[in-house]
């Protein structure tokens, strides 16, 4: 493995350097039918789950076949996407915000052939490579973060939990069975690199143990004032401690004030929180982004803790299925999950989903907590 330079000369970093050119311009990559009809689309129709048709003023039609994909994928997988795009789509392809892939063609027949091709491709162990779906009032792909694959603060894995949930809901990905779109998001810790706080269902990695303090190394590896300032609860203060008969500067933590956010660990690697028993998942539900009918909503915590059960997190899959089924069978057409919960009342939501309510679900974080308590006689028995 010899080092091969592309042209960069470390001795003269500015020589021939190109910077600040930004991304490639989007319209270089428009399929011809898109370039021609941009801004002149009349309407669209979902021909069948995973297949859209957009009609332009010109009379042109574009058929889009949407497939689900793992967000974490290899160059080999992307090259296979290129193969398909070249075979059917003149080499054009796009990704959606939710990690789906879209192939566009100009007639229904080709779209059907494309769909058949995509659905036929599988990994050797049997899972689909390009399952068609993710449209309309169904359950589309889960947006998520890195988890144990690539991050230093996660309380769980992201790709694994998403895989088991999408396996559980696979049928719904390829169907329009729900009362309205149901969006699931996953973040592997409170930082929420993927902001999951406005999703119909959110899966969130969560720590439950305060940091361990690595006293011996802390003062060498961290700026103590930054670690102290990092705590939103003011639970960390500078302190001195004795290590092997030597007094060292370190920090002390008021454990009962800790909300396990891990912000201190982000600032100071000598304060790790992760723990097999402490870490696990929180389930939130009822958020939405769209302004349709009602305002966007935050998701609410509906399950305070599910333990990490790798590799297939059976409790997680079961709980999500319970929520999805209760929603699917009980909600009205066009009613998003959170709107349904509010209409029937959260007391009914827990009943219908078979979830237990516990004191952990009552807000106690700062002043706005009050506004989530019940200040009315309007409740159900």
């Amino acid at each position: 493995m010899a080092f091969i330079s592309a042209g960069y000369n470390p001795a003269k970093p500015m020589e021939g350097r190109i910077t600040d050119i930004g991304p490639r311009k989007y319209d270089e990559f428009y399929p011809p039918v898109i370039a021609k009809n941009k801004g002149k689309w009349l309407y669209h129709e979902i021909i069948e789950p995973g297949m859209l048709m957009h009609k332009a003023e010109s009379g042109d039609e574009v058929y889009t076949v949407r497939v689900g994909a793992a967000r974490l994928c290899s160059v080999g997988y992307v090259r296979e996407i290129c193969d398909v795009a070249e075979k059917f789509c003149g080499g054009y392809v796009r990704w959606t915000t939710r990690n789906n892939v879209e192939f566009m063609v100009e007639d229904l027949e080709t779209a059907k052939a494309l769909k058949a091709d995509l659905n036929s491709r599988k990994f050797p162990a049997g899972s689909h490579k390009f399952p068609v779906g993710g449209t309309g009032a169904g359950i589309t792909n889960i947006v998520h973060t890195q988890g144990w694959v690539h991050c230093h603060t996660p309380a769980t894995d992201a790709s694994g939990t998403v895989k088991v949930v999408m396996d559980e809901l696979f049928e719904e990905f390829g169907a329009h069975n729900m009362p309205a779109p149901l969006r699931i998001a996953m973040a592997c810790c409170l930082n929420m690199c993927g902001a999951v706080h406005c999703s119909d269902i959110a899966i969130l990695g969560y720590h439950r143990k305060p940091p361990i303090i690595d006293h011996e190394y802390l003062d060498n590896l961290c700026e103590i004032p930054l670690a102290v300032a990092a705590c939103p609860m003011g639970a960390i203060r500078p302190s001195k401690t004795e290590i092997n008969g030597k007094t060292v500067n370190s920090v002390a933590i008021k454990n009962e004030r800790c909300m396990f956010c891990g912000n201190c660990y982000t600032m100071c690697p000598s304060l790790p929180l992760s723990d097999r028993d402490g870490d696990g998942l929180v389930i939130m539900a009822g958020g939405k982004i769209s302004n349709r009918i009602s305002n966007p909503k935050f998701s609410k915590v509906v399950v305070a803790f599910i333990p990490n059960e790798p590799p297939r997190w059976p409790t997680l899959a079961k709980v999500i299925r319970q929520i999805v089924e209760a929603y699917r069978t009980d909600a009205r057409k066009y009613e998003r999950l959170g709107v349904w919960a509010e209409r029937i009342g959260w007391e009914r939501f827990f009943e219908k989903c078979g979830l237990e309510f516990s004191e952990h679900l009552i807000d106690d974080f700062r002043d706005p907590a009050y506004y989530t308590w019940r200040q009315t006689t309007n409740f159900k028995w």
């Binding site: 967000r71 974490l72 994928c73 796009r94 929420m192 990092a230 966007p296």
Partner: protein
């Protein structure tokens, strides 16, 4: 033959959903076989070792990645995130495993020639593993070593004519929905505005000068497919000011069952015959619609433009022609002060090249936030701390009832001295002439 036994991960190869484990295993085998004789610039067993270290996490329930440390390319403060394994001896292929963020094309359209070149570069100089795409929108490359970073950047800029995305306390890579390119609801050209703003603010994107991260996202309409109102400090959402355009014949066709409601979004299930009264008129949040059996009437002045009727009958109803956008500021995830959605700052702004009206708002915000924001404080938190009034002041925008969902319920108005007749300086002796102690 796999380098590490992964009995736990192997269980993620079952089930119908695309298995990332199968994919990585396949990539590990391909690298080992190396059919194209690539002179891999990082360890060939990087994918094997990634599976190995991940299996270890599946066993012990804890991550095995360490803090990043500062790595990057010369002159940039972002775009690369350092990453190291905490078991480098056992998994040397991933001992260094840095992330590279490549600025995606606006709307995420690609042509395969470009895409293949990107993949070839990453195959050659990285792990061959990607995220298509990361949460912010970048095309993300997972895992390379420090010496490869400048080389990758050189090839990206010289041969692929593209650039890195953002990370750290700077402008993050902007993102847009596909907008007018393929959507009849888009009220402005989201892709172009995103592209334009990305290029206008290259310096802010690459060189950290902010208190914390700052995200732009561009949604073409209130459906919000790119989630800008939840996920961006500066969210631009398309809107219109005039009337919804109604094709009464098409409305009748929906009522007659000729067209499927909501573009066929409910097709797998039998919801019964489409009922325009129940499904459209009664669900309108403002009650501004009525249907008399042959004509749909909309009192547009009372309309919220929530998109429900348009989504439900896209062949009959169309967005208005006087188009622009609303600007929302301050969305963020919960860390540290609780989650925020973007708050409406500009009810209507025209969105036309060169987008000066949009840029003026951005720059006023930045000037203030860079002056007043604390370290690691998102702009939404600065607004909460200094008050919405301050936001209006620094952007020169007049207070409008549209700025609030409801007026304040506490009467604690912080009057300023200049607003009160007679000023605040008073003489206690004068007061005591009227009021004995």
């Amino acid at each position: 033959m796999a380098k590490h036994a992964t009995p736990l991960l192997d269980q993620l190869e079952t089930g119908p959903w695309p298995s990332f484990v199968s994919d990585i295993k396949q990539e590990a085998e391909r690298r080992k076989a190396n059919p194209d004789n690539i002179e891999y610039q990082i360890p060939v067993d990087v994918c094997d070792d990634l599976l190995g270290i991940l299996e270890m996490s599946y066993e012990d329930g804890e991550t095995h990645w360490k803090h990043g440390g500062i790595v990057g390319v010369f002159g940039y403060g972002g775009g690369v995130i350092g990453r190291y394994a905490d078991q480098p001896e056992r998994f040397p292929g991933v001992a260094h495993f840095h992330t590279v963020r490549v600025n995606q094309p606006s709307g995420k359209y690609y042509k395969t020639d470009y895409l293949r070149k990107l993949m070839d570069l990453w195959d050659f100089r990285g792990s061959g593993l990607t995220n298509m795409h990361g949460s912010t929108g970048d095309l993300v490359w997972l895992g390379t070593t420090t010496p490869q970073l400048e080389e990758i950047f050189w090839t990206l800029t010289h041969e692929l004519n593209t650039d890195l995305g953002g990370s750290g306390s700077n402008l993050r890579t902007p993102a847009a929905c596909l907008g007018q390119s393929r959507c009849e609801f888009a009220c402005y050209d989201t892709q172009d505005l995103s592209y334009h703003m990305t290029n206008e603010y290259q310096d802010e994107l690459h060189r950290p000068a902010f208190p914390y991260k700052f995200k732009f996202k561009f949604d073409g309409c209130p459906n919000g497919c790119v989630a800008s109102i939840a996920r961006s400090d500066f969210s631009v959402i398309g809107t219109w000011k005039d009337d919804i355009k109604v094709d009464q014949e098409a409305v009748k066709a929906y009522v007659a069952g000729e067209f499927r409601p909501n573009a066929g979004a409910h097709s797998t299930r039998d919801w019964g015959k489409f009922d325009i009264q129940k499904e459209v008129v009664d669900l309108c949040p403002t009650g501004c619609m009525s249907w008399d059996g042959s004509k749909l009437t909309i009192d547009n002045k009372e309309c919220y433009r929530c998109m429900h009727c348009i989504n439900t009958m896209p062949r009959a109803l169309h967005i208005g022609d006087e188009r622009g956008a609303s600007i929302f500021v301050g969305a963020k995830a919960p860390i540290l002060d609780g989650a925020q959605m973007g708050s409406l700052l500009v009810p209507f702004v025209p969105v036309e090249e060169p987008y000066d009206e949009v840029k003026e708002v951005v720059e006023n915000l930045w000037d203030w936030w860079m002056e007043e924001g604390k370290n690691r404080e998102r702009i939404g938190e600065t607004i909460k701390r200094q008050g919405f009034q301050k936001l209006l002041e620094v952007t020169g925008i007049k207070a409008d009832p549209r700025h609030v969902q409801e007026p304040r319920s506490n009467p604690y108005i912080f009057w300023k001295e200049e607003d009160v007749e007679g000023g605040w300086d008073r003489d206690i002796n004068e007061f005591r002439k009227r009021h004995q102690r």
